[in-house]
């Protein structure tokens, strides 16, 4: 038995092991990232996003971000990031945003702010198969392809700073084609580095691992889908018999196995 000394009320839900509840389906909430759109930004989310992750009542609504507001809601309700290079645009926004924060503490503040905006991650999804390996903190990642073949991401961590990184990565890549996801390089996001000195990849660079996992899993799903498409059998309409029984002509169609006494 372990005693708690003078701290009887201690509970560390975020640090305890997840239960194995993978028989429960995850609850999919819509992730609406909030970003601060700098003035004169070319980023306008004016396309529709229709996919199984959307709430049915929201379909068909297009919302442009209000550039005059400090924090705009960048809803990209598109079933696909149909404009090529939108990940690139988002990347520039992210780099510009973090790059303008010269004080490391301000970058931490921004990350912690984004951490708070990550949608809740279902407890049942905190399973070993969703873990991102090689991280000093615990990270869970779910990746799926929507109907248009774009990658959709949901993630969570027990560390707030890591959640901040994840929040940025998900905003950057959610809804992008797997090939666009794979094209992002860790060096592109160096400006987000907070407190991590040195260039050598190491276990502490959790968000490198998360980015790599997002890319790997998105590509794997995409390749799997493509292989399935290739193997899909040709659907041929049924060949009707040229000779039918007299009863069939009379409107009484027996099943095809029965050829009755003609």
């Amino acid at each position: 038995m372990i005693s708690s000394f003078n701290q009887p009320h201690l509970r560390f839900p975020s640090l305890t092991h997840e239960k194995n509840t993978n028989h429960l389906r995850p609850n999919r909430n819509r992730f609406i990232p909030r970003i601060r759109i700098p003035p004169n930004s070319s980023l306008e989310c004016n396309c529709r996003r229709e996919n199984r992750f959307s709430d049915p009542g929201q379909q068909g609504n297009i919302k442009r971000p209000d550039l005059s507001v400090r924090y705009a809601t960048a809803e990209c309700p598109t079933s696909a990031i149909s404009e090529p290079g939108l990940v690139g645009d988002r990347l520039r926004v992210l780099v510009s945003e973090f790059g303008s924060l010269t004080e490391p503490l301000d970058r931490v503040r921004r990350l912690l702010d984004y951490a708070g905006r990550l949608p809740p991650f279902d407890e049942s999804s905190r399973v070993e198969s969703n873990r991102v390996a090689g991280c000093t903190t615990q990270v869970w990642l779910e990746v799926e392809l929507d109907e248009e073949g774009n990658a959709r991401f949901r993630a969570d961590s027990d560390s707030e700073i890591t959640k901040g990184f994840i929040s940025c990565l998900v905003w950057l890549l959610d809804g992008a084609a797997p090939e666009e996801v794979a094209a992002v390089e860790a060096e592109d996001l160096e400006v987000m580095n907070v407190g991590f000195n040195g260039r050598t990849p190491s276990r502490v660079k959790t968000w490198h691992n998360v980015l790599a996992a997002m890319q790997k899993r998105a590509l794997a799903l995409s390749n799997k889908k493509k292989r399935k498409m290739k193997k899909k059998p040709l659907i041929v309409p049924p060949i009707l018999p040229l000779i039918v029984a007299a009863e069939a002509l009379a409107g009484n169609l027996p099943n095809s196995q029965v050829v009755d006494h003609i």
Partner: protein, 483 residues
């Protein structure tokens, strides 16, 4: 009164610790005093192999002791460690990760430099002058290690790369040839990975069974349960002397007696004890004992295994190659006597000599003095850390009977230790560790995935602890403000 050049004359807070009276309370000194007395440390050393000059560069001259009190051991030794005097991320470095690795005094750096600049040469076989000198110094380092832990003879010390390699040596050499199906190896859930994994590998090959002892209500391995678990089947007990997470001590002497009574052996992981307290292998009656140089102010890349000579003599080789052979034929070879039998290839000569210099330095201060100072630091750290709201410190509470090492592994509710460590480093220059500290089974047992750990050494001061606690408090407030 001579003013010490190059010494940072920052007077500590009013309470000072006189390292020369181990059991005395802290003496009080008024800050306006212009004089302070410094003791010569070599007078307290009884090591016959001590060959270094006075270890503390601040003692430009010996001053008579005075009733005015002295600076703490930490303040006195800090000037010897060049690495501690720097800024990181705009703040002065507060290094509190000593359980991971310790810092090196300039005496050790000088020894390494002297070796490579003056007499670097391969050992044992060479005829020429440089080789003879290198061999002498290498073997002298072995003797220093033997004396440091009171081994009977130098031949009982095998140099390895580190403690992990030393444990693997015992596992693959002694373990493979002595363990049979059904034999038991007894460990605790608090062991370091290096003390667990090699035995898992050997158990798979030999059919031996590993048994783990849990913690008691004070978060110390249940010693009575360990005693009860020792039976005729127990061939080996593998235990830490001091836990790198719980900061607890185990009664090695008693455990050794229990296991010897049934004909078994004991392997002591002394990585966290040899650098901090007096360790006497004969008094403990340890069969095997391992430690790493880099945790005891020596260079990385060198460690040692102590084993009783009769045990070593019966052990087959671990690694094969040069140095460990007697004669080599095409179809077989004969092997050298220990310790050479277990030192294949060119050893880390410079590093062994550096370890010898580190031992000289430690002996110059005196291990008992270091132990007493660190006990006071340990209590101060524990009490200070306990003032942080919602903190949970692992391991036993310190008391008259229960001593803790000068380290605390802890968690703060709803704050991830990695976030803490990141901000402590970035904003305050405080270096602590976060993670599982190579003790995943222990963390799983405690019900957490990770913890933060602050660990001290004799060159840390109470000021360091104060800086750490202030920084921690600010960091926790900062992180909580986002919830």
């Amino acid at each position: 009164m001579m003013m010490m050049e190059g010494v940072a004359l920052k007077f500590p807070p009013l309470k000072l610790f006189n390292p020369n009276f181990p059991t005395s309370p802290a003496t009080t000194v008024t800050p306006s005093l212009a004089r302070f007395a410094l003791r010569s440390f070599s007078s307290s050393s009884s090591s016959s192999s001590c060959s270094a000059s006075l270890p503390v560069s601040a003692t430009a001259g010996k001053e008579a002791d005075s009733a005015l009190g002295t600076l703490s051991l930490g303040h006195l030794t800090r000037p010897d460690f060049p690495i501690l005097h720097q800024e990181v991320n705009g703040s002065k470095l507060v290094y509190l990760d000593n359980a991971a690795t310790s810092q090196k005094p300039h005496q050790v750096l000088k020894a390494l430099q002297s070796y490579y600049a003056g007499y670097n040469s391969n050992v044992h076989r060479g005829i020429h002058y440089l080789s003879a000198k290198a061999t002498d110094q290498y073997e002298l380092a072995r003797k220093k290690v033997a004396d440091f832990i009171n081994a009977e003879e130098s031949q009982e010390i095998v140099f390895t790369r580190n403690a992990t390699e030393a444990i693997n040596l015992v596992a693959y050499s002694w373990g493979i040839s002595n363990l049979k199906p059904g034999d038991e190896v007894l460990l605790t859930v608090a062991e370091h990975h290096s003390a667990i994994v090699p035995w898992q590998l050997v158990a798979q090959r030999t059919g031996a069974v590993l048994r783990f002892v849990d913690l008691d209500e004070n978060e110390v391995p249940e010693v009575e349960k360990l005693r009860e678990s020792i039976s005729r089947k127990t061939k080996l007990v593998v235990v830490h002397h001091v836990s790198n997470v719980l900061a607890s001590f185990l009664p090695i002497k008693h455990i050794a007696r229990w296991v010897h009574d049934v004909g078994g052996k004991i392997l002591v992981d002394a990585c966290q004890s040899v650098p901090h307290i007096v360790v006497d292998v004969q008094e403990l009656d340890a069969d095997f004992l391992v430690a790493s140089s880099h945790k005891m102010c020596g260079p990385t890349g060198i460690g040692f295994l102590y084993a009783k000579s009769d045990i070593l003599s019966a052990m087959p080789p671990f690694l094969g190659g040069g140095e460990m052979i007697s004669d080599v034929f095409l179809d077989h070879s004969t092997y050298a006597d220990p310790p050479s039998r277990f030192e294949a290839g060119t050893p880390a000569i410079g590093e062994a000599i550096g370890l010898g210099a580190a031992i000289d330095y430690l002996q110059g201060i005196g291990m008992q003095k270091i132990h007493d100072y660190e006990t006071e630091l340990a209590n101060y750290l524990y009490e200070s850390l306990s003032t942080i709201p919602n903190v949970r410190i692992y391991g036993p509470r310190p008391s008259e009977k229960v001593k803790r090492a000068a380290l605390c592994s802890f968690n703060v509710e709803d704050v991830h230790p990695t976030d803490l460590a990141t901000l402590l480093d970035q904003q305050h220059g405080v270096a602590i560790r976060s993670g599982h500290h190579c003790a995943q089974p222990l963390h799983r047992y405690l019900g957490v995935n990770a913890s933060a750990r602050a660990s001290l050494h004799f060159y840390n001061t109470k000021d360091d602890v104060d800086d750490f606690i202030n920084a921690l408090s600010e960091t926790v407030s900062f992180l909580n403000s986002f919830k």
